[in-house]
């Protein structure tokens, strides 16, 4: 069926491997940034200010209602012009690489989803957690870092895993802005060898394997984040009074 020599195949495999590294790098950078901004935005939107709330609603509505592909194109094609508007003459000369465009676009889009998750999780925490921290005179920074956010992460984990796998499946879009990632490498190899079927199935399997691996790790992380509840009968952690 195939008429590829082994040496040729090895060459393409190397290219695919390099592409996979680019994809992975893009994905991890974007997810880390989106996570950091998402948590910060999620906390910021708890403020009672009407303006903060309105800005959040508009931001979330826009980026949850528009395809990521368009956001990528917008940052890639319009990025330098936007920088020019902000930074003046100096900014206009900065060219946005496809990689940077992808990272910016995914960060902006997925920070909205993560912020929504974090908001929901914080609102689901018993009020006593905040009141207790305040009563013990725990400074805000330590309260967030040691009391609230660990519990928030436990509540938000299933949603975060969802976002993680969704974002992973959207990373190939950046290849349409010209990034030489796994999918671009597969497309080149498929075109050159006239064996598109094998290369695209292999690429799909790489993505599936990576998701399977990350689900495994997420399961471990869940066990770890649940360690405070492990002594309870598992299955129904009710919102019990923390006396």
């Amino acid at each position: 069926m195939t008429n590829l020599s082994l040496a040729e195949l090895a060459g393409y495999m190397r290219q695919l491997g390099e592409g996979a590294l680019v994809t992975l790098e893009l994905f991890l950078t974007s997810f880390a940034l989106a996570f950091a901004f998402g948590v910060l935005i999620g906390i910021a939107t708890l403020s009672r200010s009407r303006i903060v709330h309105a800005v959040w609603r508009v931001y979330a509505s826009i980026f949850m209602g528009v395809p990521s592909l368009l956001v990528i194109f917008l940052t890639f094609y319009g990025g330098s012009a936007m920088l020019g508007a902000v930074l003046g003459e100096f900014g206009a000369r900065i060219d946005i690489s496809p990689f940077a465009a992808g990272v910016i676009a995914f960060t902006v889009v997925y920070a909205a989803y993560i912020a929504e998750l974090v908001r929901g999780a914080i609102e689901n925490l018993p009020k006593g957690q905040f009141e207790g921290a305040r009563a013990l005179a725990i400074p805000p920074a330590i309260m967030w870092g040691k009391v609230i956010l660990p519990q928030v992460m436990r509540l938000a984990l299933p949603g975060l895993v969802n976002v993680w796998s969704f974002m992973l499946k959207e990373t190939p879009l950046v290849s349409l802005a010209g990034l030489q990632d796994l999918v671009a490498a597969a497309k080149i190899a498929a075109g050159a060898t006239k064996e598109p079927f094998i290369f695209f199935v292999a690429t799909a399997l790489v993505f599936i394997a990576f998701s399977a691996l990350s689900f495994r790790l997420a399961g471990r992380l869940e066990t770890r984040l649940d360690r405070g509840l492990r002594r309870e009968a598992t299955g129904h952690p009710p919102a019990r009074a923390t006396a």
Binding site: L70, F73, A81, G84, N162, L176, F197, A204, F207, A218
Partner: protein, 258 residues
């Protein structure tokens, strides 16, 4: 550049083309939604079947078509299937020979895989006691499914279905890679003609945003109608009990998903 990066004249002038693109996007959404749903039911039954080989086969289908990025599925159908001689000679070539047919096939398979999980989650959420009660009343299995399980499952799974439909619409933006002139492709071609990076893409984004929010409103009304017998406010929170607590690789019903 003036304050706003949008050129109103260009935006106005490109409206007809954008509407044409929107029409293609809507067709490319509606057809796979129907086909995918039709495909999801038998696969879901296979997935829940007690026959192991059938369940495994269905699970493999779901794992592959859910796990593979849509772009790769599209490339696979568009470039990959043309390699198979039998298919090229066969009668289905009318379907696989055109970019439109390929996009429909790839999108339907992807949507079906997601819908299998949504359906399965919703069906599993139906309390078992209700089914047992219906059996005790001597209702046939088919009637139990149609009149007891499905109506409840729709209510449990509506939120997950809405999320899937919304993310699916946004996912269709990639069909321009196989030369279909959908909304994104129209915006791109206007950009290539005018080198205005903002106006066409922002206009297309506004169209997508409107479409997505129309769907959201529609689902909101549907949900309200389905739960019209419930007290106001309670209806909004008909979530699957205990589902959000556990980490599940399947769709988390009620969770916000992209």
């Amino acid at each position: 550049m003036n304050g706003l990066p949008i050129d109103p004249a260009l935006a106005w002038g490109s409206l007809p083309a954008l509407f044409d693109g929107l029409k293609v996007t809507v067709i490319l959404t509606a057809l796979p939604l129907l086909l995918g749903l039709a495909l999801a039911f038998p696969i879901c039954f296979a997935r829940m079947s007690s026959r192991r080989w059938l369940a495994l086969l269905a699970e493999a289908f779901v794992t592959f078509f859910r796990g593979a990025p849509l772009l790769i599925l599209l490339y696979l159908v568009y470039y990959g299937l043309g390699q198979i001689e039998a298919l090229r000679e066969g009668p289905f070539w009318i379907l696989f020979g055109s970019p439109f047919g390929c996009a429909i096939v790839a999108l339907s398979l992807n949507h079906a895989a997601y819908m299998v999980e949504v359906l399965r989650g919703s069906l599993l959420a139906v309390p078992h006691g209700i089914v047992e009660a219906s059996e005790a009343l001597g209702i046939t299995r088919r009637n139990i499914f149609i009149w007891v399980k499905m109506p409840l499952a729709i209510r449990y799974g509506l939120k997950a279905y809405q999320n899937e439909v919304v993310s699916f619409i946004k996912g269709t933006a990639i069909v321009s890679v196989v030369t279909i002139t959908d909304l994104t492709a129209v915006a791109n071609s206007i950009f290539e003609q005018t080198y205005d990076p903002f106006t066409p893409i922002l206009c297309a984004a506004a169209f997508y945003w409107a479409l997505v929010n129309l769907i959201r409103i529609g689902f909101g009304l549907w949900g309200r109608w389905l739960n019209r017998h419930n007290a106001e406010g309670v209806a909004a929170d008909v979530l699957v009990p205990g589902r959000a607590a556990a980490l599940r690789r399947t769709s988390d019903l009620g969770q916000v998903t992209p």
